[in-house]
C-alpha cells in the first residue's frame, strides 16, 4: 500500500473514532441484554419429537425453518448462474498436477465422498447434515479439478444442469406435493417426515457439492456447440 497523505490520515483517524463509538455503542447494547435467555430452545425441544429428526439444528434448518433453506438453495443456484453469466476467463493456464497432488487426491477423494455420505446420514441425529456433507463433497470436487480432471462432454450439458438444480427442485417438489396431499406447504407429516427430510437433504447435498465445485471452477464448462467467450464491450 502506498504512503498516506495528510488528508487520508485525517480521514482514517476520523473513521477510527467514529467506528470506535459504534463499537462501544454496540458493545453496550450487547452487555445490556439479559444474562439468561432461553431463546426458542424450549420450543425446539418440545417439537423435536414431531420433526422427524433428532438433531435440533437439522430440525430447524429442514423443518421448522425449512422455507429459509429452500430460498437458500435458490441463493446457491443464483451464485452459480451469476458466475456463469459473467462469461469465461479469457485463458487458463493448465499446469500439470504434481505427483504429490495426484496421489493425495487419489487417497482423499474416496475418503471425502465417504465422509460426505456419513455426514448426510448422521445429520438426522448428530452434528452434520446437507450443508456439511455438501461442502465435503465439494472439497472432493475441488481436489479433482486441481488434479486436472475435467468433466466429460456428456456430463457438462443437461446432466450437469440437472444435478445443479436438483436440491432446489426436490425441495420445491416436496413442498408442493405435501400440499396436494392435503398438508401445508413444507409440512412434513410425522410418519414420513424423516424420509422426506433425508430425501431433500440427499438431493441438496449433491447439488451443494457440485455447485460449490462449479463455483471453484469459475466459469461454465464449454460444451461442443458453445459460442466461445462473450465479453462484449458495453456501449460508450
Amino acid at each position: 500500500m502506498t504512503k498516506l497523505n495528510n488528508k487520508q490520515r485525517l480521514f482514517r483517524l476520523l473513521l477510527l473514532v467514529l467506528l470506535s463509538v459504534l463499537a462501544a455503542g454496540l458493545g453496550y447494547a450487547v452487555l445490556k441484554l439479559p444474562l439468561q435467555a432461553p431463546g426458542l430452545s424450549t420450543r425446539v425441544t418440545e417439537n423435536l419429537v414431531v420433526s422427524g429428526v433428532s438433531n435440533p439444528v437439522t430440525a430447524v434448518l429442514l423443518n421448522f425453518r425449512g422455507y429459509d433453506t429452500l430460498l437458500e438453495m435458490a441463493v446457491l443456484l443464483l451464485a452459480l448462474l451469476a458466475v456463469w453469466s459473467l462469461g469465461s476467463q479469457s485463458e487458463r493456464r493448465e499446469s500439470a498436477p504434481g505427483a504429490v497432488l495426484d496421489m493425495l487426491s487419489r487417497l482423499l477423494i474416496p475418503l471425502f465422498i465417504m465422509v460426505s455420505g456419513y455426514l448426510l446420514w448422521v445429520g438426522a441425529h448428530a452434528p452434520g447434515g446437507a450443508f456439511q456433507a455438501g461442502s465435503v463433497l465439494a472439497a472432493a470436487g475441488v481436489l479433482l479439478l486441481l488434479a486436472g480432471w475435467r468433466p466429460g462432454v456428456w456430463f457438462v450439458g443437461l446432466p450437469l444442469r440437472i444435478t445443479l438444480v436438483l436440491g432446489l427442485a426436490m425441495f420445491v417438489a416436496v413442498a408442493v406435493a405435501v400440499q396436494l396431499a392435503g398438508w401445508r406447504l413444507l409440512e412434513f407429516p410425522l410418519p414420513v417426515a424423516g424420509t422426506l427430510i433425508l430425501l431433500i437433504e440427499a438431493a441438496a447435498t449433491l447439488s451443494i457439492g457440485i455447485t460449490l465445485a462449479a463455483l471453484f471452477f469459475g466459469h461454465r464448462p464449454q460444451t461442443g456447440q458453445d459460442s466461445g467467450s462473450q465479453t462484449e464491450q458495453g456501449e460508450k
Binding site: A23, G27, L35, G39, V57, L61, A79, F131
Partner: protein
C-alpha cells in the same frame, strides 16, 4: 457463563474491524475479505448469545448461521469472479472513481 458475552464482544470487534477495512482499503480482494470478516463477527455474536440457556444452546441461531455461511460463500464466489472480469475489462482491481457529481 459470561464468557458468552466476551465472545459476543469479540463479534462486535470483528464487525467493526471489517467495516473499517472495507472503507479504508481499495483493493477489491481486501474488500471481499473485509466483508467476510464482518460476517464472521455477526455469526459469532448470534451464536455466542444463543448459549445463554441453562442446558443446550438455542439451535435457531445456529441454523441461521449455517444459512448465513452458505450465503456468504455464494456472495464471495460472485464477488471474486466479478473482480476478475473487472480486471480484464479495465485493468483495475479497485472500484472506479466516484461518478462525477
Amino acid at each position: 457463563m459470561s464468557s458468552v458475552f466476551f465472545y459476543a464482544l469479540t463479534g462486535v470487534g470483528l464487525f467493526t474491524l471489517g467495516l473499517y477495512a472495507l472503507i479504508v482499503y481499495t483493493h477489491l480482494l481486501r474488500k471481499i475479505l473485509a466483508i467476510n470478516v464482518m460476517g464472521s463477527g455477526i455469526f459469532l455474536l448470534l451464536v455466542s448469545l444463543a448459549a445463554r440457556t441453562r442446558g443446550a444452546p438455542d439451535p435457531v441461531p445456529h441454523a441461521m448461521v449455517i444459512t448465513g455461511i452458505v450465503v456468504a460463500i455464494s456472495a464471495t464466489a460472485l464477488a471474486l469472479v466479478l473482480m476478475l472480469r473487472l480486471r480484464e475489462a479495465s485493468d483495475r482491481v479497485e472500484l472506479p472513481e466516484e461518478p462525477m457529481e
